[in-house]
C-alpha cells in the first residue's frame, strides 16, 4: 500500500511539473492572468506532492516497512531512530527523492515571493524551474524508483552506509549540499527568463542575486562540512584531497561566486549582463555535472552508491540542458546589451573584471583536472588520475591572487583612480601585510607561498576591516553615537555591503588557514606496543592499553592514548577502530584534539588486541579550527547581506557609504 501511494505521488508530481512547465512557457510567450495563476498553482502542487512523497518515505523508514524498495535497501531495525530518519539521504534513490523535496521548497518560495512582481519574467522562470522539476520527477518515476515494491519483504535490512552513521556531521552535510546544489536551479531559471524576455534590468538583477546568494551560503557551508567530516571520520589527516566528488561541489561554488560579483556590476553599471547570465547558467550546468559524477558511479567514492540507469539519464539531461543553454545564449545574449560602460583604468571596476577572470580560470583548472581522466579512459581505455600536485600547484597562485584582489578591489574607487588615490589606498595596508609576514617568519613559516599568503592576507585584512569599520567611525564622529549604536545604524543602512565584507573577512581567514595548515604541519606513522611512547614535535603520546566497546550497532576497539605536551599532561585520546554489523570491514575513527592554534590528530591504522600493538598515524595540523570558524563567519556575512533583501528593504548601493579609500564626502 505504502509503495503504491508513494509511486502515485511521484507520478502526480511529474504531471504537475510537466504541465506547469508548459503553462509557464506558454504564458511567458503570450501573457495571460489565467495562465500565470495556473503556472503558480502547478508550482505549489509540485512542491506539495514532493513534500508528501518525502513524508511517506519517512513514515516507511521509521516504521521499517521493508515492502518499500528503498527501505529494504537502507533500513534496519538495529539502528537508532535518528539514523532511520536521516536514511532518507543516505543512499541513491532516497537522496533523489530528498532532492525533489528541496527543489519543491525552493520553487514554492521563489514563486510565492515574486507572485506579484516581474510579470514578464516570472512565467518563464516558473516554466524553467518546473522543467527541471519534471526531469527529477521522471528520474524518481523511472530509473530511480525509491518506492519500488518488494515482493517478499525481508524481516530486516542492512542499514545505511556505516561511514555515514559514524559521525553527526553526516546528518547535516547532505541537506546543506542539496540546499546549495538544488537552489542553483532558481537563479538558472531567472537567468533563462531574462534571456527569453531579452532584458536584464536594474530591477530583475535583484531577485537573481538574492536567489544566487541563498544557495551560495548553503553550498559554502556544505563544502566545508564535507571537508570537516572527512577530517573527523576518514582518518587520513586532511580535509581536502581534490577528490572528483569534492571538486564537483567546488566547481559550481566558483562560478556562483564569480556571478555574485558580476551581478553587482550589472546592478551598479548596467554592464556584464550576458556574462552574468552565462555564469549563472554555467553554475547550474556544473551542479548537474556534479550530480552526474557523484551519482553515476563513474568515480567511486563514499558518495557514489551503485551503478544504475540514473547515471546515463542524468547525462542525457546534462547534454540537453547544455544544448539548450548554448542555443539560448547564442540567440539571445545580444538582447542583454550593456547600458553603461566599464572603466578599464585602475579602478574597482577593473578589479572586478580581474576577479571574475580569476574565478573562471580556477573553474577551468579544476574542471580540466577532474574530467581529464574520464576523457582519457573513454577515448583510450587507459585508467589514470590527475594527482593532487597538479591541483595544488595550479590553485595556490590563483588563490593568492584572489586574496590580493579581494583587498585591492574594495580599496580602489569606482570609475578611475588617480595616482594619488592609488597611493593612499594601497600603501597603508602594506604595513599590516609586512607585519603579518614578519610575524609568520618569526613563528617559523619558511614556505614561500605561505609567506606570500600571509602578506596578502594581512593586506586584505586591513582593507576589509577598515571597510567594515569606516561607516561606524564616521557615524561616531559625525553624530556622536556610541560604538554599538553606530554599528547598529551603519549596518542597518549598508546591510549588503556590511555582509559582503564579513564574507570577505571569513574568506581571507580560510585562505590563510589553508595555507598555514597545509604547509606547517608534521606527521608520523608508527607501530607501538602497550606502554610505549612516541614523540611528535612537542607532543608525547603513550599507548596505555586497548579495550573493546560494544554498542548496539557497532563494536569498537579503542586505544587509550595519554597525551602530553612539553611534559604537561593534556589528558587522554581514544582513537578507535569500529566494526559495523552490516560490514565486514572495520572503520577507523580518529581522535582529534582541537585547539585554536593546532590540532593533534591520532588515527588508528591497525590495532591488535592479542599482540597489544597499535599502528598509528599521528599529525599536528596547525590552524585547522580556523577553517571551520571562518566558514561560519562567511555564512554569517552571507545571511547579513541576504536579510534586508528578504524583507524587501534593500538599501540601494548608489547611496552606500563611502569607501575607506575615498576621502571625499559621501555624495556621488
Amino acid at each position: 500500500m505504502v509503495p503504491a501511494l508513494g509511486r502515485i505521488l511521484i507520478l502526480l508530481a511529474l504531471l504537475a511539473a510537466s504541465a506547469g512547465a508548459l503553462v509557464g512557457f506558454a504564458t511567458g510567450a503570450r501573457p495571460s492572468g489565467a495562465g500565470w495563476a495556473w503556472a503558480r498553482r502547478l508550482a505549489y502542487a509540485f512542491a506539495a506532492l514532493m513534500v508528501l512523497a518525502n513524508l511517506v518515505m519517512e513514515y516507511a523508514l521509521l516504521t521499517h516497512d521493508f515492502s518499500v524498495g528503498y527501505v529494504a535497501h537502507v533500513g534496519s531495525r538495529s539502528v537508532p531512530t535518528w539514523v532511520s530518519l536521516v536514511s532518507l539521504w543516505s543512499s541513491l534513490e532516497g537522496s533523489i527523492l530528498f532532492w525533489g523535496l528541496v527543489m519543491g521548497a525552493y520553487i514554492a518560495v521563489a514563486t510565492w515571493q515574486n507572485r506579484h512582481r516581474y510579470p514578464e519574467y516570472m512565467p518563464y522562470a516558473v516554466g524553467m524551474w518546473l522543467a527541471c522539476g519534471a526531469f527529477f520527477s521522471f528520474l524518481l518515476a523511472g530509473p530511480a524508483q525509491p518506492f519500488a515494491t518488494v515482493p517478499g519483504p525481508p524481516i530486516d535490512g542492512p542499514g545505511p552506509n556505516p561511514l555515514l552513521q559514524n559521525h553527526y556531521l553526516m546528518i547535516i552535510h547532505p541537506p546543506f549540499l542539496y540546499a546549495g546544489y538544488v537552489g542553483m536551479t532558481i537563479p538558472f531559471g531567472l537567468a533563462c527568463a531574462a534571456l527569453l524576455v531579452g532584458r536584464l534590468g536594474h530591477d530583475f538583477i535583484r531577485p537573481l542575486r538574492n536567489f544566487l546568494l541563498l544557495p551560495w551560503i548553503f553550498l559554502t557551508v556544505a563544502i566545508v562540512l564535507g571537508g570537516w567530516w572527512a577530517y573527523e571520520v576518514l582518518g587520513w589527516g586532511g580535509y581536502w584531497a581534490w577528490d572528483p566528488v569534492e571538486n564537483a561541489s567546488f566547481l559550481p561554488w566558483l562560478t556562483a561566486t564569480a556571478a555574485l560579483h558580476s551581478a553587482l556590476l550589472v546592478e551598479r553599471k548596467g554592464v556584464l549582463k550576458g556574462w552574468t547570465a552565462t555564469l549563472v547558467i554555467a553554475t547550474y550546468l556544473l551542479t548537474v555535472l556534479g550530480t552526474f559524477m557523484t551519482r553515476s558511479g563513474v568515480f567511486n567514492s563514499v558518495h557514489s552508491f551503485t551503478q544504475s540507469a540514473i547515471g546515463p539519464t542524468i547525462l542525457v539531461f546534462l547534454a540537453a540542458a547544455l544544448l539548450f543553454a548554448v542555443a539560448l545564449l547564442t540567440v539571445r545574449v545580444d538582447t542583454l546589451a550593456a547600458e553603461g560602460r566599464l572603466e578599464t583604468g585602475p579602478s574597482r571596476d577593473a578589479v572586478f573584471l580581474v576577479q571574475n577572470l580569476l574565478f573562471v580560470l580556477f573553474t577551468f583548472t579544476v574542471l580540466l583536472g577532474t574530467v581529464f581522466p574520464l576523457v582519457v579512459e573513454a577515448a583510450r581505455g587507459v585508467q589514470m588520475s590527475v594527482g593532487r600536485p597538479y591541483f595544488d600547484k595550479m590553485s595556490v597562485p590563483i588563490g593568492v591572487a584572489l586574496l590580493f584582489v579581494m583587498g585591492v578591489g574594495p580599496a580602489l574607487p569606482w570609475g578611475h583612480a588617480t595616482k594619488e588615490q592609488l597611493r593612499r589606498a594601497l600603501l597603508p595596508p602594506l604595513l599590516t601585510a609586512s607585519m603579518l609576514a614578519v610575524l609568520g617568519f618569526a613563528l617559523g613559516v619558511r614556505n614561500a607561498w605561505t609567506m606570500v599568503a600571509l602578506f596578502f592576507g594581512g593586506f586584505t585584512a586591513q582593507i576589509t576591516l577598515s571597510e567594515i569599520l569606516l561607516p561606524v567611525r564616521q557615524r561616531m564622529r559625525a553624530r556622536g553615537e556610541n560604538v554599538l549604536e553606530a554599528l547598529r545604524q551603519a549596518q542597518r543602512r549598508g546591510r549588503r555591503r556590511f555582509g559582503a565584507y564579513i564574507v570577505h573577512a571569513g574568506a581571507l581567514l580560510v585562505i590563510v588557514a589553508i595555507a598555514v595548515s597545509s604547509t606547517m604541519g608534521s606527521s608520523k606513522e608508527i607501530q607501538l606496543r602497550e606502554g610505549e611512547t612516541m614523540a611528535l614535535g612537542a607532543y608525547a603520546l603513550t599507548f596505555v592499553n586497548a579495550d573493546r566497546v560494544a554498542e548496539p550497532h557497532r563494536e569498537s576497539v579503542r586505544a587509550r592514548m595519554d597525551v602530553s605536551k612539553n611534559g604537561r599532561s593534556l589528558g587522554t585520546l581514544y582513537p578507535r577502530m569500529s566494526r559495523y554489523e552490516s560490514q565486514r570491514e572495520p572503520i577507523g575513527t580518529p581522535a582529534v584534539r582541537t585547539s585554536l592554534t593546532e590540532d593533534l590528530y591520532v588515527s588508528i591504522q591497525n590495532i591488535d588486541l592479542a599482540s597489544r600493538s597499535v599502528g598509528l598515524l599521528v599529525l599536528v595540523n596547525p590552524m585547522v579550527a580556523w577553517i571551520w570558524i571562518a566558514t561560519a563567519v562567511m555564512a554569517l556575512g552571507g545571511l547579513v547581506a541576504l536579510v534586508p533583501a528578504w524583507r524587501g528593504e534593500t538599501v540601494a548601493v548608489r547611496v552606500a557609504v563611502p569607501s575607506a579609500s575615498a576621502s571625499a564626502e559621501g555624495s556621488r
Binding site: V302, F305, E343, G415, T418, Q583, Q605, P658
Partner: protein, 180 residues
C-alpha cells in the same frame, strides 16, 4: 564610490581596435593557460597499473607516480623492523612486483588481500610505496581513505577474488629480478 568627477581619459585606441586587441589578449592568455594546465596535468598523472602493465612500461615506470593494484602474494609478507621496510609481493597472477613500504600497514593487510599501492618504481626493480591501501569489497565500497579510487581498486582486485587468478597466485611467486 565617492570620487569627485574625474574626466574620463581619452581612449588611446578607437573602439574597434580595442575590441580586437582585447580579443587577441584573451586568446593569448587562454592559450597560455591551457599550455600550463595541460603541462601540469601531464607532469602529475597517476597511472593505474597492475604488475603486468608495470612490467610493460619498463623504464617509463621509474620515477612516475603509479597506483599498483593487485593481490598480496601468499607468504610474501615480511614485516620489517618496527614501522619501516615492510616488504611484500603484489601479484596479478601473471607477474609479481616486489614492494617496499615505509608506512604502517592498514588493519586488514594480510596475504591474498587486494591492495593498491601508490608509489614509484625504483631502478633496482622494487616498488617503493608511499601509501598502502587495502581493497574494500563490502557492498557499500566505502573507502577508509577518501582519496582512494576504489573503482580501480575494485577492478584490479575483483577479478582476483573470483576466477583462476588466486590459484595461480598460490603458486610460488616469482620475485622480480634485481637489477635488470
Amino acid at each position: 564610490m565617492s570620487v569627485p568627477a574625474i574626466p574620463a581619459p581619452a581612449p588611446a585606441l578607437n573602439p574597434g581596435k580595442t575590441k580586437w586587441f582585447a580579443f587577441a589578449a584573451v586568446a593569448v592568455a587562454a592559450a597560455a593557460f591551457l599550455l600550463i594546465a595541460l603541462g601540469g596535468i601531464g607532469e602529475n598523472l597517476v597511472y593505474y597499473w597492475g604488475p603486468k602493465e608495470l612490467r610493460a612500461a619498463g623504464d617509463k615506470a621509474i620515477g612516475a607516480t603509479i597506483r599498483l593494484g593487485g593481490q598480496v602474494a601468499i607468504g610474501s609478507v615480511r614485516p620489517g623492523d618496527g614501522v619501516s621496510n615492510l616488504e611484500f609481493d603484489v601479484t596479478d597472477g601473471t607477474g609479481t612486483v616486489h614492494v617496499v613500504s615505509r608506512g604502517v600497514p592498514p588493519q586488514l593487510f594480510r596475504d591474498r588481500i587486494g591492495v593498491v599501492v601508490e608509489g614509484t618504481m625504483t631502478r633496482n626493480g622494487t616498488f617503493q610505496s608511499r601509501r598502502l591501501m587495502v581493497s574494500h569489497d563490502n557492498r557499500y565500497r566505502a573507502p577508509d581513505d577518501k582519496d582512494v579510487d576504489v573503482k580501480t581498486l575494485m577492478r584490479s582486485t575483483q577479478g582476483l577474488d573470483e576466477a583462476p587468478v588466486p590459484r595461480a597466485a598460490a603458486t610460488p611467486a616469482v620475485k622480480p629480478q634485481v637489477g635488470d
